[in-house]
Amino acid sequence: MTNTKPLLKIRDLQIDGISDETRSRIINKVSLDLYPGEVLGLIGESGAGKSTLGLAGMGFTRDGCEIVGGSIEFDGIDLVNSPLEKRRRLLGSRIAYVAQSAAASFNPSHKIMYQHTEAPVFHRKFSRIDAETDAINLYRRLRLPQPEMIGFRYPHQLSGGQLQRAMTAMAMSCRPDLIIFDEPTTALDVTTQIEVLSAIRDIVEQFSTAAIYITHDLAVVAQMADRIKVLLRGDEVEENTTRSMLKSPRESYTKSLWAVRSFERKQKPPAKTGATPVISLKNVTAAYAKNDPVVRDVSFDIHAGRTVAVVGESGSGKSTTARCITGLLPPLTGSISFDGTALPPDYRQRSNEQLRQMQMIYQMADTALNPRKKIGEIIGRPVEFYLGLTGREKRQRVEELLAQIELEPTEFIDRYPAEISGGQKQRIGIARALAAEPKFIICDEVTSALDQLVAEGILRLLTDLQDKMQLSFMLITHDLSTVRAIADEVVVMKDGIVVESGPKNDMFTPPHHAYTDLLLSSVPNMDPDWLDNLLASRGADNIGDAAIEKMNKN
């Protein structure tokens, strides 16, 4: 490989971001070489500059970004200084892009096929007829259902996983030499992700296309890339072949990324038989529209000081169950009791005391905090509302709470949410829930919007708080590594039904329910041969949507 010329050559690239007249460096002297047919993985946390670097590989910068130094060469063409027209001729035809959210990146106004054939027709690579025939072939290769028909639908008629594969097909439409994949599976469920991953890898191998694969997920990049480059706030940390990088990361930052996945708390002994659960659901059925229940006959208990993880993919009814518990969505049938007494189904009929005992932490800390209130006011509000503290007592309590979530009280109490980081915002969300001094907290995907290192910190904080205060958690998540890290019991949901429930250790050891098995087997792990082995052992027909379809038929 080293004796051929690199396809993409980036040298000492510097990119600045400009907002409100302040400049900040987004990419700081990064160089890379990509050879024909090679896949380079770019990993790093949010703000590392992965996407900016990936787009720079196309000679493209987003509005507000500016290349201030260095060079980008694609197949001998200078992408920094060439005229716009010349660079534009490369885009779509020789360099293609696959975006993070296919649902947002397909134009809702045009059919998939029109968008697929647009680039080849515009760049005069193929006629429309040829491009359509080729599209159908690609759809078949990517295992899309009804390949002859699917292109003639509008984007909203396809599922997320199907759209992501259709977008990969669209990127191949001109048979480019290089494709930039920008977190193509981050927004997908695990069982869908694996299908898209295998589809992408197949097609990249078959056409020996070079690719830059951007992701924050190490296990994913391990399956996809020949080499990995680690970025941290615009700087290159290190680069190595995938296997050496996984075996022996050199830099301490890389090692810390690797280590995150090792956090796991021991499962607590099961609650004594006969103990009254803090929360108990009995045969709960709930619906948004009449005669179309979203959760059916759901029953489970949550005991004091324990964490029950409710696991499932999007649309499985996890969040609806939480809405039933909080009383936002009164169930059609079934009952919910707290400490042995039945709760009124509607939150408006619950007493202040009942409301206080049950708090919630949200997925998007960003949108769950009022941007116009200071941290002290955000946490102080429930302190005053539920406990009736005011003035100095209230402030003292807020300071205690801040100390509990490991933030320096005097430093944070007068700040606005915009002035703190994502992880800190999530900690404020936790403090706000704690302020009511509840027994039970619902954690709705609390770590899924956070980088892995930060997420780990949040999980550790939650377990510490649980041990100190005997809190019970209902942990809603789709991420099985989070489950492994802090759950005591697991409830697996699919299509509104509980398919399996039990202690964590039983969950993670076979035999499983078929769906649990599919979920577990779909979580990538750090072994670069994992995907090959899985495909070899199961066959392409037994992963992802195809497997679920089979399961539903049985």
């Binding site: 787009l55 196309m58 493209f60 987003r62 509005d63 534009r88 001729r89 490369l90 885009l91 779509g92 035809s93 293609a96 892009y97 975006a99 959210s101 947002a104 990146s105 397909f106 134009n107 809702p108 106004s109 045009h110 647009e118 680039a119 515009f122 760049h123 509008y154 909203h156 008629q157």
Partner: protein, 331 residues
Amino acid sequence: MGILSIIIKRLGLGVLTLFLVSIIIFLAVNMLPGDFAQALLGQAATPEAVAAIRADLGLDRPIANRYFDWLVGAARGDFGTSFAQANFSAYVGENSSSNYGSVATQLAPRFANTVFLASVTAVIAIPISLAIGILAALYRYSIFDRVANVSTLTSISSPEFFVAYILILVLAVLNPLLPSLSNIFDGMSFAERLEKTLLPALTLTLVVTAHMMRMTRAAIINLLASPYIEMARLKGLSPFRVIVVHALPNALAPIINVVALNLAYLITGVVVVEVVFVYPGIGQLFVDSVKIRDIPVVQACCMVFASAYILLNLLADIMAILSNPRLRIPK
């Protein structure tokens, strides 16, 4: 919800709106000082003459009865007879119930003229506004964009009669290209009509362009940060294609709404321009009727205006639904 059920629901609401509008207008005109008899007779009115005319027209009856009579008639499609006509017929001794002076026969040709003027204006103004809006979005922050914005804003900010006289000065007086009077009558050929209508239509074009053009520009620019626009750019498409093929179809809903509002304005709000060009449209009839408290005509005009608003807005909503595949084609 299907389009048909939306249409039915909205038409039902539209009828309700018309009913409320008719009550409000009826009450409002009655609350104005004076009535038709006083307005007609002026300062020389003797109480006897006023009372005679009132009795003739039924103005001496209680307001509720009069409204109810009107409502029953209107429900059957009979908008009655204009007071002026009725009074004239009574004076010359004809039967006041004859069809000769009904509001409908009086209104119909005026309304047709107004629709003609609005159509000519729309045919000129809509393509121009869309084109300028698209180009302004394409070359945003350029000289073209600024000139387009400033000039359209200037024309919308100037009083209509001022714009009208400037156009008369430039296109009729200094360069005698178009007639300055738009006296339209029956039996004119289409070409003649068009020529007479062109100057008021151009005036109105200058008045409505700014609104539509700015909405087109804003709706498109609003979408330029969306991921699918970035995707289109990353396919190497030309900027013009990105805007026309990828941004415009998704910007149609707000644009259609503004176009509908402006069309409604063209039907209901063009009195000043009609006066300047002596154009025999519905606006002038309306103002004259209010002046002499000719309630049947005022009522009928208001029903026409309100219907125009309701139908054009309904049309806009239906077109917005049809322009959006997510609403048009269920999952």
